[in-house]
């Protein structure tokens, strides 16, 4: 029960501090879940990937996945309810009074400052995921430069560069990118 309430509270916090949609949630998911030792960084990366390739809202998918993987089906329900709870309260209030808030200058000014902060956090999330995904390391702390360089997974680096190019330049849907990089992974690490 403590586990379930903790999931509810953790995802309530994640929902409450997510400004600007799905990707803004990633730094929070990483810090809250790995910070508490609920899941490892590798698992967080898997949560993000799997939530991308399954239909539905990223936030709900990620919450269900984290909840089920830590505490079973009830965990999934509690985490999902938790991540939606701030929205239930705030969006209902907004729906009631929304004419008054629409085009609110204070809200706009606040978002003007908050947006770069959220983007800085996403940038830091990218940096935080690099050791596990491109080097197979838990982190860079305590490892010298030549050891770091030696553990670079060149195949992973190529997958990352090609994926980034495909999404940004060729406008390929992230779903295909994830699926194709999974196939590449099977071929590179599993077959050869």
């Amino acid at each position: 029960m403590i586990d379930l309430l903790n999931l509810l509270w953790t995802f309530f916090k994640i929902g409450l501090f997510t400004f600007g949609g799905g990707y803004a949630m990633i730094p929070l998911i990483i810090s809250e879940l790995t910070g508490q030792g609920l899941v490892s960084t590798a698992e967080v990366t898997d949560i993000i990937a799997i939530s991308q390739v399954t239909p539905g809202t990223f936030a709900i998918n990620a919450a269900t996945f984290s909840g089920v993987s830590t505490s079973g089906i009830l965990g999934g329900i509690f985490a999902t309810f938790g991540v939606m709870l701030p929205s239930i309260v705030l969006a209902s209030l907004m729906a009631r009074f929304y004419l008054r808030f629409k085009n609110n200058a204070i809200l706009k000014n606040t978002m003007f400052s908050l947006r770069p902060v959220v983007l800085g956090l996403i940038a830091s999330a990218v940096a935080a995921l690099i050791p596990i995904s491109l080097f197979g390391l838990q982190g860079f702390a305590g490892i010298n430069f030549s050891e770091t360089l030696a553990s670079l997974d060149i195949a992973a680096l190529i997958i990352a560069v090609v994926s980034g190019f495909a999404v940004l330049k060729l406008k390929v849907s992230p779903i295909y990118v994830v699926l194709l990089s999974g196939i590449a992974g099977v071929l590179i690490y599993g077959v050869f």
Binding site: F17, Q52, S69, V117, I188
Partner: protein, 184 residues
């Protein structure tokens, strides 16, 4: 009778959107618009624009926020619950099954290899999202400074993410003293 129909219709429509939309909030918006503006006519397109703007300026997922507002406008609190239960139900079912498959098979050589490939692309996907969000951001000394400070505070100094966001909100609220009139 009609009341029941509207609730059921909210639930089923959102369930359809939740079950068949890949890619979260931004991919869902056109579908939500198509269902509630074009097909049902429950909200007009001006209202829809307001709903989307609001959904992005309050915390939480954009799709969850906008479905709550639409549900509330149509049928009050019950309507908003019908809408988000519909939205969440397909995810709860699919992700529960997938999570069990993941935990049972991730040690398997081929699954582990696939996940290793996928982890490499996830970094690139988040980076791409960052680039796409960064481009339309207004770049002034002030916003770039906030971006860099938040990046460093999180990565190098390992400040709690929640505190960094709270700091951003406080700075944003305080900026209202200097920035009057809602522009910049």
């Amino acid at each position: 009778m009609r009341e029941k129909n509207a609730l059921l219709s909210l639930f089923l429509t959102m369930m359809k959107i939740g079950a068949f939309t890949f890619g979260g909030g931004y991919a869902m918006i056109p579908l939500i618009e198509d269902e509630f503006v074009t097909k049902k006519g429950w909200v007009n397109s001006d209202e829809m624009a307001d709903i989307l703007a609001l959904s992005q300026s309050i915390p939480g997922a954009i799709s969850v926020n906008s479905s709550i507002i639409i549900g509330y406008k149509k049928k009050g609190v019950l309507g908003s619950f019908a809408a988000i239960f519909g939205l969440a139900l397909p995810s709860l079912i699919t992700l529960t099954i997938i999570t069990y498959l993941y935990t049972s098979f991730r040690e398997n050589l081929y699954v582990a290899s696939a996940l290793r490939g996928i982890r490499a692309s996830v970094v690139a996907l988040i980076f791409s999202a960052l680039v796409r969000l960064f481009i339309p951001m207004k770049k002034t000394l002030y916003t770039i400074m906030l971006f860099v400070l938040s990046f460093l505070a999180s990565l190098l100094f390992d400040f709690n993410t929640v505190y960094i966001i709270i700091a951003g909100i406080v700075i944003g609220l305080a900026s209202n003293i200097f920035l009057k009139g809602g522009k910049e």
